[in-house]
Amino acid sequence: MASPLRSLAYLLPQLWRALKEGPHTVKYPFDPVELPAGYRGRVIIRAENCRGCSMCVRDCPAFALELEREGRDAYRLIYHPERCAYCGQCELSCNFDAISLSNEFVPGKPDRKDLGVVLVNKEG
């Protein structure tokens, strides 16, 4: 147990330290943010690698990826950021190194319409 007098103002040294160290606050909305390289953000694709095998669609836990087949080779891969769990399972499931997660977050939107992003649009 600390002495009674000290325990009356026990946090005082800490307060002084906080004053001396200054705030630990980021300047985010005024300064741009730099996210770590490994941060799991928006889903991006290297379209030339995509074969439309739908492995990512199968494993997506949040049904954020949709594959619309329009023919033998024609398909569209659509990504819904509002459903995405940002877990990176698609990156893991892809055998062709096509789909991956970038290190930027999806900015907020006032409307939910037209959110789906067409990642790949292959015709024939």
């Binding site: 026990y10 005082l12 307060l15 906080a18 004053l19 200054g22 705030p23 630990h24 606050t25």
Partner: protein, 305 residues
């Protein structure tokens, strides 16, 4: 006279002080916690926003009482502020104004209790009854602590007490115990951390003010901030009086500095402690603070008499 009443050291001046003190307090608290804190215009923005917001009254609340209560308490605090000299400036002063000020300053506490009582919400009722309990716990030691300077100076006029100190030294140095008791009482009166029991967020949401919104909430917040200013000015006058060696302008400055000093003391206290329970406060008030204040008064009477 009207100018004195409305602008300096009257309403407008107190109003600006209230906003400034609110900002200093929040900023200091943030710095103690390693944060940045709000910008200087924050209290103004909060106030304007609340004034422009929809004013909802829950069913079952008497609209007249709900509207009158914050106005009455604001008026009481403002009137109290008129009697308190600021540095060398004072609007009105007479023998016994200290008692009037103390009486006026206790009106917001009762209005706060009533505001909780007329509301239909459970939290408001709880907050109101807590406010009353707290009032009984801190008020007696607070009054007794403030009686110390009056007894020492042999007068119930704030101006006389200030004059008495200009001939001697600060009463805070003569009666350190009384000063500490007065600070604790002031924290209780202002319902600040760590004695924010009637409006403890994690217990009673926002106390009496839970159901208030818009303009009435703005008035209540303004009342609280004004009360902080008036209370601090009162303590500065009673315990850290002005020596008349300097001219009027340094008096103005040094008074402001002393007030901010007490405000910083209050901020430190709120950063330093956890909130007390209401029964702990009652125990503290009646078993520790009140006897100490009594001792203080006896000593003061012995010395002064």
């Amino acid at each position: 006279m009207l100018l004195k009443l409305l602008i300096f050291p009257g309403f407008l001046f107190l109003f600006l002080c209230a906003l400034f003190f609110d900002w200093v307090d929040r900023r200091m608290l943030a710095r103690f916690q390693g944060r940045v804190g709000p910008p200087w215009y924050q209290p103004v923005a909060d106030l304007i926003k609340l004034l422009a917001k929809e004013d909802i009254l829950p069913t079952g609340v008497n609209p007249l009482t709900a509207a009158v209560l914050p106005m009455v308490s604001l008026a009481a605090v403002l009137t109290a502020g008129l009697y308190i000299p600021f540095g060398a400036f004072s609007t009105a002063s007479f023998e016994g104004d200290l008692i009037v000020v103390l009486f006026l300053l206790s009106i917001p506490a009762l209005a706060y209790f009533l505001a909780g009582w007329i509301s239909t919400g459970v939290y408001s009722v709880l907050g109101g009854s807590r406010a009353l309990l707290q009032y009984f716990s801190y008020e007696v030691p607070f009054l007794m602590a403030l009686a110390g300077p009056a007894i020492l100076a042999g007068s119930w006029s704030i101006t006389h007490i200030v004059d008495y100190q200009s001939q001697t030294i600060w009463i805070a140095l003569m009666q350190p115990l009384g000063f500490v008791l007065a600070i604790i009482g002031l924290i209780g009166k202002l319902k600040r951390d760590p004695l924010d029991i009637p409006k403890a967020k994690s217990e009673v949401v926002a106390g009496s003010l839970t159901e208030f919104s818009g303009r009435k909430l703005a008035l209540w917040h303004l009342t609280m901030n004004m009360q902080t200013v008036v209370g601090i000015f009162l303590l500065v006058n009673l315990f850290m009086g002005q020596s008349s060696v300097f001219g009027p302008i340094p008096a103005f400055l040094s008074f402001g500095l002393k007030s901010v000093g007490i405000l910083l003391l209050l901020s430190t206290a709120s950063a330093l402690y956890a909130r007390l329970r209401i029964d702990q406060l009652a125990t503290l008030g009646w078993r520790v603070l009140a006897p100490l204040a009594l001792v203080q008064i006896l000593v003061a009477t012995w010395i002064g008499g």
